[in-house]
Symmetry: C2
Subunit: 377 residues, 2 copies
């Protein structure tokens, strides 16, 4: 029986820090293989992935991942708790023995925090602060621990989700090498830097500079098709101009009043960034608003059915294939290797729409006719 360590990732894009984390996860757990569940073409903070999911999956397979599966979009473009819950559930379904993840402070006592009751709505009535800020204050008040770093927040949510699955996986935090998660500047004295700083360089097509930070680079050709929100700005503008406030209010997570802000500011803004700044308030974080704009762009409705979990294979190597054979008969959720018409009109409808939209910009079909990457056989 092969033993596996699960990794929840976005790889936006893949870099040396990610390779380090895969290597350490395998080493610390002594697992036979690493199973990666990765966001598709739209990522958790409400942005299109800088490189498409196939390119990112291939980068991971080249650097230690043995199987890469896609986190469904209805689970991926979500706040940390929902993102974590579905990713943990799917890895649990796949029988992973361990879940390993980066953390800014792996010595935090996540285990003691996972049973904390936070959900009294009275705790969230201060409208001058964002929801994540209020959560952090509450944890500090109740436990004295400070959880204010993005990976720590995710980690806490992994513990909670895993507890809800009877602690099916053993959780293995690994200290992140660089702590400035969103630093825009490359750190030239290190082989590690933030994904944000690499994205900036990709946008400017400075491929030479970033090769220092990305292991086993793909061809320039594959790194060429960079996608950003700017590519979708004319479509978003069109969508908001042609949709009245009543119809906008039917979009998923369109809270009371936000539809009026969108309608009001869309005619003033000349770029996505400008629009985002115009609609920003203290109450809503940038990721919250960016996700809302993804929902709007995709026409994702309040009453769309909730996320259905499934195992969508993006790629594997020999070890990954053996593991898949070992576990597939025990799966209680669908296994998807190829998107067909039926799937595209049912479980995967929003994923296919999201992929088609991304593919139009990226100029490559993302789902139909695509088969899993078979790496290094």
């Amino acid at each position: 029986m092969l033993k596996s360590v699960g990794i929840i990732a976005e790889y936006n894009p893949f870099h040396n820090g990610h390779k380090y984390q895969i290597d350490m996860a395998k080493k610390q757990t002594n697992a036979d293989l690493a199973v990666v569940i990765m966001s598709g073409n739209w990522v958790q903070r409400g942005q299109p992935a800088i490189l498409d999911k196939w390119t990112r999956a291939q980068m991971a397979l080249k650097n230690g991942a043995d199987m890469v599966i896609e986190l469904p979009i209805k689970s991926a473009v979500q706040p940390a708790d929902i993102f974590a819950k579905h990713a943990v559930n799917i890895l649990t379904e796949l029988g992973c023995n361990y879940l390993s993840f980066g953390s800014e402070n792996p010595n935090l006592d996540f285990d003691s925090l996972k049973d904390l009751k936070l959900d009294d709505s009275n705790n969230f009535k201060d409208y001058s602060k964002s929801y994540p800020e209020l959560i952090q204050e509450l944890i500090k008040k109740k436990t004295g621990q400070v959880i204010d770093q993005p990976n720590d927040i995710l980690a806490l949510n992994y513990y909670i989700a895993n507890r809800n699955n009877n602690n099916a996986m053993q959780l293995v935090p690994i200290k992140r090498i660089e702590s400035q998660h969103h630093a825009k500047e490359l750190n030239e004295n290190s082989q590690y830097t933030s994904a944000s700083s690499i994205r900036s360089k990709l946008i400017n097509n400075d491929l030479g500079e970033i090769s220092h930070y990305i292991p086993n680079m793909l061809s320039d050709n594959q790194l060429d098709n960079v996608v950003t929100w700017d590519d979708f700005w004319p479509l978003l503008k069109y969508k908001i101009i042609t949709t009245d406030v009543d119809e906008l209010s039917q979009i998923y997570q369109m809270s009371e009043g936000l539809q009026y802000r969108l309608k009001k500011y869309i005619v003033q803004a000349d770029s996505f960034e400008e629009f985002l700044d115009l609609i920003k308030t203290k109450r809503y974080t940038y990721p919250r608003l960016q996700r809302l704009l993804v929902y709007t762009l995709l026409n994702w409705k309040q009453n769309d059915s909730a996320s259905k979990e499934y195992v969508r294979i993006l790629g594997f190597n020999k070890l990954g294939r053996s593991y898949l054979k070992q576990v597939k008969d025990n799966l209680s959720i669908p296994l998807v290797a190829k998107v067909n018409k039926n799937l595209s009109e049912n479980e995967l409808e929003l994923d296919v729409t999201a992929g088609r939209l991304y593919g139009n910009v990226h100029s490559q079909e993302q789902d139909f006719g695509k088969v899993p990457i078979i790496y290094n056989f």
Copy 2:
């Protein structure tokens, strides 16, 4: 009391034939002035106007029109009967004494045809033919007259609409100079040519060649901002990709089944023209389908309120202003000289959306802050 002749037009774009028609209309009726009601930025056959409404209104004012008003979009982008009805109603509201129009065969006995009953739905069950074809066959069967030219069909509808208004205006057909309405080639031996042929030249920016066919040309600068369906193709594609068949079926005039054709073929087509050819069937004419795609693009819903008539002033000269003073107290429909927030959220909502969409491509705001053109004072 000033006497006026009404003209229903699109001027897409204005050319020598249009000037001839205005001159002849004034001459034959001996009216003091010509009042033109013109489609705005989207025209009857379901296309964006090649030049925006302000440019086209100015061309008309330079060439004999004394007042130009806009036919509301909900009346303009419609089959001939609805287009004619609202245009005739608004000119009647404005107290026009005459209605003059071009006709391929002005000697047809339109008056005898206007009471013909055509609306037995049993007459329209041959799905191998388009609706206009069936109408033409029916008229021929009942009266022996052949009405198969676009301006004659409009003319018949003017007679019917005018009859329904107790023949308030005297109708004055004028023989059209050139008969090949949709000819793509310029006719170099004449100063008259089709609007289609001029559009082709405008798209290729051959301004020199077309100056022969356009009286009192505007500056090259004004003729530079040419708009075609191709400009909206990425938005239409986005719209159809992100809208499911149930939601598409709520679009105005989306007959049973057409939504499936749109969804099916949108992923195959690489251009608007290709898409239009893919969805074409014998039952539906190109204009019918193009109008449907305008409705889809504008998110114009089945249950949107019907067209409200109003008088939207695009421009006038001194005579036009005097006439407006003479008639405005008798208007039973709103007079709109400037679009404000209230109008843009109510009567003019779809017009403003349509203008904004057009203006985004054309790079000039079409409604807010615009005031009527005051010509040659």
